[in-house]
């Protein structure tokens, strides 16, 4: 029972922390609960479908279908997180200011909730399919221990969700005017960590070079298998022995999202519609 509890806990934890951060980042947006729940429902449905076709996906593209699939959905999540952060860098300040001025937490804005809902869905899709396969395997194998193993799985699932709820509860203690800066930083790190994981899948599929297997080794300092190490792995892609390609993807994601946010906050040099078009029209 304990074995299945731990396995399911670890898988659920990752999705649960992502959803906790997303819930905090979308604080005050009307109907965000429905959006995020919708994203989660799609994710769970997707996870069952992926689990059902796991063998087929795996044997696609010369046997590296699983890696390419994982890399593609991770990079999609990175794109969604980047979009959210760049959007927020442009509008976050006004949103927080208007919420403060109105003295309420409800922000009337068209925030990219689709992006965040998709991120939740993707997190569940990735982790969920594994849980589904694992629990399904136990269920069909039957035997005396199957019942207690499944129970362990359920308890693990509940514990994993509880950690995500705790993270969310901690984050919403932060006053609204600071909250978006904190969630922005968390999402930036989350995106960079996901990109670095995608890099590993692409190297495993022989699409990208590894660029050095062990750039450093900090496993004595903070083991990746310890609980703090795992939390840091989920939240910021911590790897005790990173491959070179992981560092390239991690840094590139940090730089690209930061640059995108910087460009988005620059004051516009021309006001659209107010200035006449200069230069010659293309002929």
């Amino acid at each position: 029972m304990l074995a299945s509890l731990i396995i399911v806990f670890r898988e659920v934890l990752e999705a649960s922390l992502v959803i906790g951060i997303v819930m905090a980042a979308s604080r005050g947006v009307p109907r965000r609960g429905a959006w995020i729940l919708g994203g989660c429902a799609l994710g769970v449905l997707g996870a069952c479908i992926v689990a059902g076709f796991a063998g087929e996906i795996s044997s696609l593209v010369d046997g590296v279908g699983q890696e390419l699939f994982n890399a593609a959905i991770l990079l999609a999540a990175v794109a969604m997180l980047a979009w959210h952060n760049i959007w927020m860098s442009r509008h976050g300040r006004e949103l927080a200011a208007s919420a403060r001025r109105l003295g309420k937490d409800v922000i009337d804005g068209t925030r990219p909730l689709t992006a965040l809902a998709l991120v939740c869905g993707i997190a569940l899709l990735r982790e969920g399919s594994e849980v589904v396969l694992f629990l399904y395997g136990i269920a069909v194998s039957g035997g005396a221990s199957a019942g207690s193993m499944l129970l362990g799985g359920l308890v693990g699932c509940a514990l994993g969700l509880a950690v995500g709820v705790a993270l969310y509860a901690g984050l919403i203690f932060i006053p609204l005017r600071h909250l978006f800066r904190v969630t922005g930083a968390l999402i930036l790190l989350l995106a960079a960590g996901m990109a670095s994981q995608a890099a590993i899948y692409l190297a495993a599929a022989n699409v990208l070079p590894t660029l050095g297997n062990r750039i450093w080794d900090s496993s004595a300092l903070l083991s990746e298998t310890s609980l703090p190490g795992q939390l840091l792995h989920i939240l910021a892609g911590y790897t005790a022995r990173p491959a070179g390609i992981q560092l390239v993807f991690f840094v590139a994601t940090l730089v690209l999202i930061s640059a995108g946010s910087w460009f988005a906050t620059r004051p516009p040099r021309v006001i659209a519609g107010a200035t006449p078009v200069t230069g010659q029209a293309p002929s």
Partner: protein, 118 residues
């Protein structure tokens, strides 16, 4: 709102392009190097210690002879891949420096083995 409209139109297209690139890149991936086989049976890796070439990329085939799903994983050389019961998967590893690298079945963590690169 103009920003949101264009962005939401672009997102699915970007996603599709991403997937297309990944698939295209995948078809270009070819096994040009050595190929090695590892079997999981009764929750044991056979061989428990596999000698692999150091300093070159190689393809490892993992066969799961058990009925239940396994996940071939290594923290040492960063690999993580599900292996359905009765199926086999291929995974590209390396180039590794000479040394010992542990791997395990993440869904049955007591199932462990080593790669020895030399």
């Amino acid at each position: 709102m103009a920003i949101k409209d264009t962005a939401s139109k672009r997102a699915p297209a970007a996603l599709a392009a991403l997937l297309a690139c990944a698939l295209l890149a995948g078809t270009l991936a070819r096994a040009s190097d050595a190929e090695l086989v590892l079997t999981i049976k009764d929750h044991q890796f056979a061989p428990a210690e596999l000698v692999v070439p150091a300093g070159q990329k190689f393809k490892l085939v993992v066969r799961n002879a058990d009925a239940v799903v396994a996940e071939f994983e290594s923290v040492d050389f960063h690999r993580e891949k599900l292996v359905q019961g009765g199926h086999e998967i291929a995974v590209y590893i390396g180039p590794l420096d000479a040394g010992r690298y542990e791997f395990f079945d993440d869904l049955h963590p007591e199932t462990r083995g080593h790669l020895v690169a030399r």
